[in-house]
């Protein structure tokens, strides 16, 4: 009997549930269970599909005579029609929009989260949280429109029309920061409110002011959750597409000037695939290579974020 329980793996469990007390097969139950398991497995298929398809086409890309990984990593022009596939212009502009986004989203996101969880009355919170949810629910193309028709003219009127191009990474990045703000806020707020009340009470009992309690007690206790939120935010910013496709410029440009137009990885994929792309062309294969790069970066960031939460989480009981 004990032995039976020990090897209670999928097979035995499946047997227990799909057979009646006499050990006769319940066909209907077994079929349903099979279907449900299949549904659960679809997500695995999706991942396998992503890795296989992206990997396969990316491999074809790197096997093309014009392309070499070494050259990709060491040159700074990306011009498919001249056979130049230096990845850096796309990477630097992606990093630039991401940096701008995080410059907005991290301080504001933390500020809002601390305000909501430590200062706001429950009434204010009830009003403010739905507002942030609205912000999070607006489609990204709308933010793209906002960047192009509001943020860019704003930047141009502040810094001058000669300095700021119509398409520029700064505008896209700043608006992306607004997009990511609710994500960081809600994750941070969750982390802050998970810190037990007793910790705060103890700190108040020691004579701490509200700010001291918030910054020196609650914030450090929630640090792992906040770090995870920031990393997820970065991952989201790197993968964000429509804002940069609309506002950051069409055409790879190796520059660190945020007021110039420069195409990001995602923006490039969208522009290239906008027309009817013919299969097995170098453009077709290149978007798979770029997609794979994007997938690897975001997956790594997501896994790191999960690890941080698991390893550094303070458990209070």
């Amino acid at each position: 009997m004990i032995k039976e329980e020990k090897k209670s793996n999928v097979a035995t469990l499946f047997r227990q549930q799909s057979h009646d007390l006499h050990g006769r097969r319940r066909t209907g139950e077994a079929i349903i269970q099979g279907l449900l398991f299949f549904s659960g497995f679809v997500s695995i298929f999706t991942t396998i599909g992503i890795v296989y398809e992206l990997g396969k086409e990316a491999l074809l890309f790197f096997q093309m005579p014009e392309v070499s990984i070494w050259k990709s990593l060491t040159t700074t022009t990306w011009q498919p029609h001249t056979g130049n596939f230096g990845i850096w212009p796309l990477v630097t502009s992606t990093l630039m929009t991401t940096t701008f986004a995080m410059l907005i989203a991290i301080p504001l996101g933390l500020g809002v989260a601390i305000y909501l969880s430590e200062y706001a009355t429950s009434k204010t919170r009830k009003i403010l949280k739905p507002v942030l949810e609205v912000l999070a629910g607006i489609p990204t193309i709308v933010y793209g429109y906002f960047a192009l028709t509001f943020m860019t003219p704003l930047l141009r009127s502040i810094f001058g029309k000669d300095v700021v191009d119509i398409y520029n990474t700064a505008s896209a990045g700043l608006v992306m920061g607004i997009l990511i703000l609710p994500l960081i806020t809600s994750m941070t707020e969750d982390a802050l409110s998970a810190v037990p009340r007793s910790l705060r009470e103890a700190a108040y009992g020691m004579g701490g002011t509200r700010l001291e309690v918030a910054l020196q007690i609650v914030l450090p206790a929630a640090l792992s959750g906040i770090a995870a939120a920031v990393i997820i935010g970065i991952s989201r910013a790197i993968g964000e597409t429509m804002i940069v496709a609309v506002a950051a410029g069409a055409g790879p440009n190796f520059t660190l000037n945020p007021f110039e137009g420069a195409e990001t990885i995602t923006g490039h994929i969208v522009r290239i695939s906008g027309g009817d792309l013919s299969y097995d062309s170098i453009d077709y294969n290149s978007i798979f290579a770029l997609g794979l790069l994007l997938f690897m970066i975001t997956l790594t960031l997501n896994i790191i974020s999960q690890r941080i939460v698991r390893r550094f989480r303070e458990v209070y009981e």
Binding site: Q33, T46, E118, Y145, F146, L211, G291, L294
Partner: protein
């Protein structure tokens, strides 16, 4: 006592500390205000684009179309038809006649045709709502000096006509009907795929799965998939649904041959791609809903001799369904707003006919917005703003439905 207070660890600089606290409190409040301001600016900016003055120049002045002194508005059917015949080629006239006989058309409809085909208003310049309110006189002056023949008109780009008209390359006659229908068709397939599989996966993970490596892998995998950028799903959809499964998504294995289908770039391919995209969201939400059903219900069911599936079907699911539906609606509203994956899958940007089957070419509302936003002319930006309002209203409706559902059916145990 005094000694203790002098101890630096019991810093008594209360005033300074409180002042610092106050400043920081302002900073925190300010960041919240900035967030709200951003939202307000976003909404106002859209309103600003969707309404405003437009300078219209007609190719043929409607005043010259009067027959025997009767202006266009008061003409009879025969007069209108003769005006139309006079100004367009007989081939074009016959085509219109074939679409719908003029004898059966309403007068308003014929007048509309004349406006579109003969008068042909052209947008010379358009102004935003803010400009239209603050600088009316300047705009009027500018319009009369720059475009003496043009008439100035305050236009709401968002109108019932706009929602009901198909897409067109002319800004004044363009509408979003094609795009809305395209969105609905796409979402239909997204739901058909993602809802059963998503709920099935959630039931499996919550009710059946034991804690072994495989199920842990599935769980971690779902969380990771939720973080994959949407454009990667687009690339996956391009490779699998558009290319590999082309016979299925273009409908050729069903003997469906349509000359206008663009190989596998169809409504079905787009729906399936979005289905994969929202699957993790549906699973995670459904899992939460199922987890919230109290264990006692299951035990009571087992106690009466129900099998596992009977318990799930008759007790767990009915209690979890409001939560599952709420989660699904939220996932659907995410799918409706998605643009990037559909561009990659191959949305058509310039189709003016409505989708009629899963194997039609497609365009969706966000795609339409994207296309209009990327055009340099101001009038297309205005169209984009109007289309954004339509999109936001749809999303608002869905979210309101989700909230109602949650409040109406939520039960506490």
């Amino acid at each position: 006592m005094k000694e203790k207070l002098a101890n630096p660890n019991y810093d008594v600089n209360i005033k300074g500390r409180n002042r610092g606290g106050l400043i920081w409190r302002w900073i925190f409040q300010a960041s919240t205000v900035v967030g709200i301001l951003a939202l307000t600016a976003l909404l106002l900016n859209i309103m600003n684009g969707a309404f405003g003055y437009v300078a219209l120049e007609a190719r043929v002045d409607p005043g010259t179309l009067a027959v025997n002194g009767t202006p266009l508005e008061n003409q009879t059917r025969e007069q209108l038809i003769s005006v139309l015949k006079e100004h367009i080629s007989s081939g074009a006239f016959n085509k219109l006649e074939k679409d719908q006989p003029f004898a059966k058309r309403s007068l308003a409809n014929i007048r509309q045709v004349i406006l579109e085909r003969v008068v042909k208003y052209d947008v010379k310049q358009s102004w935003s709502l803010w400009e239209s309110i603050t600088r009316v006189n300047q705009i009027k002056q500018e319009s009369t000096t720059k475009y003496p023949k043009a008439k100035l008109q305050f236009t709401s780009w968002l109108s019932s006509d706009f929602v009901g008209r198909p897409q067109s390359s002319e800004a004044l006659t363009a509408g979003v009907r094609t795009a809305i229908l395209g969105s609905l068709w796409t979402i239909l397939f997204t739901i058909l795929v993602a809802f059963p599989i998503g709920v099935g996966a959630a039931i499996y993970l919550e009710e059946y799965a034991t804690d072994n490596w495989l199920n842990r892998l599935i769980r971690t995998n779902i969380n990771n998939l939720a973080g994959v950028p949407s454009i990667v799903y687009g690339i996956l959809g391009l490779a699998i649904f558009v290319r590999t499964l082309e016979p299925l998504t273009s409908g050729s294995i069903f003997g469906y041959a349509d000359s206008v289908t663009a190989n596998g770039r169809t409504v079905l391919a787009a729906g399936l791609t979005l289905g994969l995209l929202v699957l993790p969201i549906i699973i995670i939400n459904a899992q939460e809903a199922i987890r919230a059903v109290p264990q006692s219900l299951r035990k009571a069911s087992y106690g009466l001799g129900a099998t596992k599936w009977q318990t799930v079907w008759y007790h767990v699911l009915p209690n979890a369904i409001p939560g599952i539906l709420t989660g699904t609606i939220l996932a659907v509203s995410r799918a409706i707003g998605e643009t990037a994956p559909l561009v990659v899958v191959g949305a058509s940007t310039a189709i003016s006919f409505d989708p009629t089957s899963p194997f039609s070419k497609f365009t969706t509302l966000p795609i339409q917005i994207y296309q209009w936003t990327s055009r340099p002319q101001d009038e297309f930006r205005s169209l984009a703003a109007a289309a954004i309002i339509v999109l936001l209203i749809i999303l608002l409706g869905l979210n309101a439905a989700a909230i109602l559902l949650r409040n109406r059916f939520s039960r506490s145990y």
